[in-house]
Amino acid sequence: MATKTNKAIKISQKHLLGIQNLSINDVHLILDESQGFIKLNQGKNKKLDILRGKTQINLFFEPSTRTQSSFELAGKRLGADVMSMNINNSAIKKGETLIDTAMTLNAMHPDIIVIRHQDSGACNLLSQKVNCAVLNAGDGRREHPTQALLDALTIINRKKKIEGLKIAICGDILHSRVARSNIYLLNMLGAEVNIIAPTNLMPKEIEKFGVNTFTDMKKGLKDCDIVMMLRLQNERMTSSFLSSNREYYEYYGLTPDKLDYAKSDALIMHPGPMNRGIEIDTKLADDINKSVIKEQVELGVAVRMACLKIFCE
């Protein structure tokens, strides 16, 4: 972790499409910038005018509470004019293609577009068609870079470092963009990453990303500093990825006895929204000594402020 931001360092990318595209310097730049906003968000006056006169459009094709509101607040706190498109009332519902939507919005001269889309690569496509910066707020199962960045920030603030930590990511890895972005980022920052999932929810050749894979949660959690749980989507049951919620909870739900395998000071993380009693024991989720789930949400705003600022420049 670089201690001081070198002001001469600029972001290497025009868009934030994924952690894959970022250099280590880019990552430090964003994380360092985020640190400054944490205090601001805790203070009385949360408003800056860094982005005054800039227009930010939030284009969310998938339902989202925390990411969308986090990006909206982040933009507003920096003084940008923020517009959140409601897809249900837009021309997209009438069959407009993503490229046409992009062209239309582009003609209104936004400075930044934040996009969430159900298809992997949607943000890449958008970025090819607009003049402004594009921030990926989650595309299909590919990447969710700001989530990984806020997770890293949370870890750094608690553990003072990432390098050398042992971090477990557990759950539906196959369908998870959060897992992919976190794997890239945590690897880049020098952590050892354990992936825990039933084989049905493990992506093909994921070990080539440089991670250890486990189907036995207890083995995967052994001596971990961080336990990152992922949300299990209910529709996975109907398509026979899994047999039942209760069996999943038995083998992959985070419970106190399984957590015992991790280090005694291990922290629990979850990107939300949580399924209590399916992937995580409800008491653990609320245990203020172990769970940093609320902190993740809090730091999420700071990270998004940093990203908006950096990519708007």
Binding site: D119, A122, R141, R142
Partner: protein
């Protein structure tokens, strides 16, 4: 038509095991009159002016066994006229068209329409396929017998697999009774459901659902197991993986069947998809480099019988979408030969083997008198400068749809003229 004399050419006609320097005489009625080394300047009538080809190649007209035409229903993607022009520019003189149109080619009345359109609008030979099942729903089989009487020479559901094993065995029984050719698109529909590209590291990286190679192998193994007991004419439309090659190699020692490969799978691999290039969203998907190499070797060893273009014209709008939404398939009929020649130029496969897989082998499987330069046969052939370099540019493609998978690729070898029934219907400008 005047009698035409060509001399000083390199002639390859795998059907007649001909590979020699010589000439070609095309009769007044558009048939092959004489061919080979005996046709030379010394024994032609002196009053005739022969065309000196200066060592260019003469190949039989290509028989492309897997072509999608937009007619009827998707004329904006490709019609018989645009298809035929595109085909001619690539030395293709006969095509087998897939039944995946709107409506599906699954009954005799639509075949009449198709044959009429094909005859009136196209300058090449059109051999339409009918579907194996009604509306390619995979439940009820079509009338193979009656459709054959109308001129259908093969049956396939095109882009879909016969998933139901009982139905497949019944289809094979009927095909055996009626002597019909069955062409299977081998991909287990359950295993490949929602899949877009090869299952593996690239799919994981791009966050796209994968199609495992076993999806292909399972269907091939199932069908070949059925074929052991039901001996019908069976052809696997396209294979894409090393696993399939292994199975086919083994089984070919015991049972009779044939298989094809798309030029895309011989030339490209999954890495070419890069940053969500939708023009490389193909079926079967591009797989690993090891898979590609195994396919090339299988072609070389003649385990694979046929190369197809898998020409699937899609308009730009169907491709300017996210990868998940984009249409599957690439336009390829006009680059089929040139791209195949790459395998010759880089020393992977003998020229004669490539030409065989493009001409006489498909004709033999289809039981049509095409893809050869036999005396008395229709003079369907192309003249090819096999060394001429050129670069693929989509705006220069003749096909109505420009969705090439090899934009900007440097190729070596180009058709300079194509003849159908002795008539020169294409000449390179």
């Amino acid at each position: 038509m005047k009698k035409q004399y060509f001399i000083n050419a390199n002639i390859i006609d795998p059907h007649n095991s001909l590979n020699e320097h010589g000439g070609l005489i095309v009769s007044e009625d558009g048939k092959i009159e004489a061919i080979g080394k005996k046709v030379n300047i010394n024994n032609l009538p002196t009053r005739e002016k022969p065309i000196d080809l200066n060592g260019k190649y003469i190949f039989p007209g290509i028989v492309d066994m897997r072509v999608f035409v937009g007619e009827p229903g998707y004329e904006y993607k490709e019609n018989f006229k645009t298809l035929s022009n595109a085909a001619l520019s690539g030395g293709v003189t006969s095509v087998v068209t897939m039944p995946n149109t709107d409506p599906i080619i699954d009954n005799v009345s639509i075949v009449d329409f198709l044959k009429r359109r094909g005859r009136d609008k196209s300058m090449i030979n059109i051999f339409p396929c009918a579907s194996l099942t009604k509306n390619i729903e995979g439940t009820n089989m079509t009338e193979f017998g009656l459709l054959q009487k109308k001129g259908i020479i093969a049956f396939t559901d095109g882009i879909r697999t016969i998933q139901n094993t009982q139905l497949m065995s019944r289809i094979m029984n009927s095909a055996k009774d009626l002597g019909s050719l069955i062409m299977q698109h081998a991909e287990d529909l359950d295993l490949s459901k929602n899949g877009m590209i090869n299952s593996g590291i690239i799919a994981t990286k791009l966050g796209l659902a994968g199609i495992p190679d076993v999806a292909e192998r399972i269907i091939i193994e199932r069908d070949l197991t059925l074929l052991e007991n039901i001996k019908c004419r069976y052809h696997i439309s396209q294979i894409s993986s090393e696993k399939s090659v292994e199975v086919i190699k083994q089984r070919k020692e015991k049972i009779k069947f044939t298989c094809g490969v798309s030029i895309n799978n011989l030339s490209l691999n999954e890495n070419d998809i890069g940053d969500f290039r939708t023009f490389l969203k193909l079926s079967p998907p591009l797989r690993t480099e090891e898979d590609r190499v195994s396919l090339v070797n299988a072609l070389k060893d003649e385990i694979i019988d046929v190369i197809v273009s898998d020409h699937k014209p899609e308009d730009e709008e169907s491709k300017r979408l996210t990868f998940a939404q984009a249409a599957t398939g690439a336009s390829g009929i006009e680059t089929l030969l040139s791209l195949s020649l790459e395998l010759y130029h880089n020393g992977s496969v003998k020229l004669e083997t490539i030409i065989k897989a493009l001409t006489s082998n498909p004709a033999k499987i289809l039981k049509i008198n095409k893809g050869n330069l036999s005396i008395g046969a229709d003079a369907d052939f192309s003249i090819v400068d096999i060394n001429k370099p050129w670069i693929v540019k989509k705006e220069k493609l003749i096909s109505k749809s420009k969705n090439t998978s090899i934009e900007d690729k440097k190729l070596q070898g180009k058709v300079t003229s194509t003849f159908v029934r002795g008539k020169e219907l294409f000449r390179l400008q």
